[in-house]
């Protein structure tokens, strides 16, 4: 299942969302890194998700797949974040951990 690019961009968008003040509440037991760290991490992960797709599928198909999966990941994140913010954060972590394994399937 070549969805690792989407999983990485899901984590990237989660970082970028949690770097915004209005999305940081409701996660109380969780200690979040500072906004700045999260923002840098988010952009790095977004770049990584592009690299993953391009590396796997070549530039033409890779960029297409990356943009498509990135859009779906962002839409799913916003749905989940509005409903269960903790679950969204947890899923981002789990997805990020699973992504390297998926890449070798």
């Amino acid at each position: 299942m070549p969805y690792e690019s989407g999983l990485v961009s899901f984590a990237a968008f989660t970082c970028l969302a949690l770097a915004m003040k209005k999305h940081r509440s409701g996660l109380e037991p969780l200690v979040l890194p500072s906004e700045r760290v999260l923002r840098v991490l988010g952009w790095c992960l977004l770049a990584l998700s592009a690299a993953v797709a391009v590396f796997r599928l070549g530039p033409a198909l890779g960029v297409t797949v990356w943009i498509g999966q990135m859009c779906v990941a962002a839409a799913l994140l916003v749905l989940l974040l509005s409903w269960r913010p903790k679950a969204a954060t947890a899923l981002a972590g789990v997805g990020l951990i699973c992504a390297p394994f998926l890449a070798f399937l």
């Binding site: 915004m20 003040k21 209005k22 509440s25 198909l61 859009c71 916003v78 509005s82």
Partner: protein, 542 residues
């Protein structure tokens, strides 16, 4: 909404631009919205066009056969049944289509014009003619999404006008949306107009690359129809343009000297060597059995963005290569890639699902936009004016009744007897009678009840599909799970998922909207926000 008496002072230029864009956005979106919603929904279903067709012909089962064998089996069948045809157009099976399909054209006969012959379905392995229920399958949704079931050329023109409105609405929407990054991840539920705007923004902004791509490439696909003048100004005949763009087709006149058609296997092998191992998708044979017969192979386009297939033409009598399609210039390659991006034929299963979900966000964007138009203009203590009632009723008809129509099309496929003459047209009629009939009946109910009840009906219709499938065929959900028939199992599960989605929508519509209590909101504390009270301002932006 265009006149805003609360701002009498001359507006600064940026604000004026935003407001005029908001006006354009609201009205273009409204006028084209109902058709665009139907185009998005049926177009999204079309990403599974071959799968829907397979589901709608449960008599046929897929078998994986190499291209050489399928092509030769089909040719043998045609030579045994109608050897004197002018042309055989053979669509080979692939991992998404179960059967070989042949369109045969008889030699022109001046005395008796030949009757139009229906598509032949052949067993890929043996070439035996297959019988299956007559249906338009997934092709119906695909055709509807750009022809709108209207006579040519009106449907395509109307779809084109709507696509142009859509493109303008996308651009004006981006300009008018002033908090595009601040509200990037924002979606607040149960806050009335606020929530509809959030949902509209989220579905539009998060999948913006897809919306812009799909609208633009959809327009470009039919651009030669919408803007025929550049071709007319530069070429005497349309054929001259086609030849210049795609190369001359190898059309030799039949000589009348009979010559046997050589086996097609070596030609497919030779083409595969040129195409780095790709198999052909289509085999076109002209003047079979004649010394001047030709075999044209069209390359499968799976895995490549360019949807225009390369082709190689061989002599059917000698097996020599006669011509091949020229390597496309930059303009033709661009057009091919744009078509490919729109159709998504290059997409494997995983990317196909991505396309499907992105298409759903498009439908969600149009749907929430239409609802927002009404919610924004509804006054709590005044009777709704005529235009508002009209738009709300059209919204119910377009958004809540179309899913039932699509489900009715699929249900009709299982419920109309398989041998009934004219059943394919009956299936199509079932969709439109259900869709428009339900919209008409919903007029009898108060608007809020109409939303809930039509959505409940859609839920029931989609939930009924796996049941009816299990009762009328031997390929129900349990049987297909047991035999590993993932297409049928996936289809039934997808129908259940859509039913759940419609049910959720009905449930949400039935809940009373929360009174706008101003308790300290957890998500967006006004005191912590650097820009206090942004709510009114950004609601006004649309």
């Amino acid at each position: 909404m265009n006149v805003r008496p609360t701002f009498p002072a001359p507006a600064p230029p940026v604000r004026a631009l935003r407001q005029s864009m908001a006006w354009i956005h609201a009205w273009l979106g409204l006028l084209a919205g109902w058709i665009l919603f139907a185009m998005f929904l049926t177009g999204t279903a079309s990403y599974f066009r071959p799968e829907i067709t397979q589901w709608m012909q449960p008599e046929l089962r897929s078998a994986s056969v190499p291209a050489e064998q399928a092509a030769q089996a089909a040719i043998n069948h045609m030579q045994a049944t109608t050897p004197d045809d002018q042309q055989w157009f053979i669509y080979l099976p692939d991992d998404r289509t179960a059967v070989t399909r042949v369109f045969a054209r008889a030699k022109p006969n001046p005395e008796k014009p030949p009757a139009r012959r229906p598509e032949l379905k052949l067993d890929p392995a043996t070439g035996q003619s297959l019988e299956a229920r007559d249906t338009r399958g997934g092709e119906h949704f695909y055709r509807f999404h750009f022809q709108l079931q209207l006579p040519h050329p009106w449907g395509r023109w109307l779809a084109g006008v709507c696509a142009m409105f859509m493109l303008a609405a996308i651009i004006s929407g981006v300009i008018t949306h002033k908090r595009i990054f601040v509200d990037f991840f924002t979606l607040r539920w149960r806050k009335g107009q606020r929530s509809w705007l959030d949902a509209h923004n989220a579905s539009a902004v998060l999948a913006l690359p897809f919306h812009a791509m799909i609208t633009y490439t959809g327009l470009i696909t039919l651009v030669a129809m919408y803007m025929p003048w550049p071709v007319k100004a530069n070429f005497d005949k349309p054929d001259a343009f086609t030849t210049a763009a795609y190369g001359a087709p190898a059309e030799a006149k039949a000589t009348g000297t009979p010559a046997p058609l050589l086996p097609v296997g070596p030609m497919i092998e030779a083409a595969g060597r040129t195409w780095s191992g790709d198999a052909p998708r289509t085999v076109v044979i002209r003047n079979p059995g004649d010394a001047a017969s030709t075999v044209t192979l069209l390359r499968a386009t799976g895995g490549r963005l360019n949807a225009r297939p390369d082709s190689i033409t061989f002599s059917g009598a000698t097996g020599q290569e006669l011509s091949r399609s020229p390597s496309p210039g930059p303009a033709i390659a661009t057009a091919g890639v744009m078509l490919g991006l729109h159709l998504g034929h290059f997409a494997g299963p995983s990317l196909r699902w991505v396309y499907f979900f992105l298409g759903l966000t498009g439908a969600a964007m149009v749907g929430t936009g239409l609802v927002l138009w009404v919610v924004k203009r509804r006054k709590p203590n005044a009777a709704p004016f005529f235009g508002l009632k009209l738009v709300e009723r059209l919204n119910i008809g377009a958004i809540a009744c179309l899913p039932s129509g699509m489900a009715a099309y699929l249900l009709a496929n299982r419920l109309i007897p398989a041998g009934l003459p004219g059943r394919a047209e009956l299936e199509v009629k079932a969709m439109f009678w259900t869709w428009f009939g339900l919209a008409a009946v919903s007029l009898l109910r108060p608007a809020k009840r109409a939303w809930i009840e039509t959505l409940c009906l859609a839920t029931l219709a989609f939930a009924a599909l796996p049941v009816v499938n299990a009762v009328t065929t031997d390929r129900g959900l349990i049987a297909s799970l047991r035999t590993g028939d993932w297409l049928f199992a996936g289809f039934d599960l997808a129908m259940l998922a859509i039913a759940a989605l419609c049910g959720l929508a009905a449930f949400k519509a039935s809940r009373k909207p929360q009174p706008p209590k101003r308790k300290a909101s957890v998500r967006a504390p006004a005191t912590a926000s650097p820009r206090p009270a942004p709510v009114k301002e950004s609601v006004d932006a649309l």
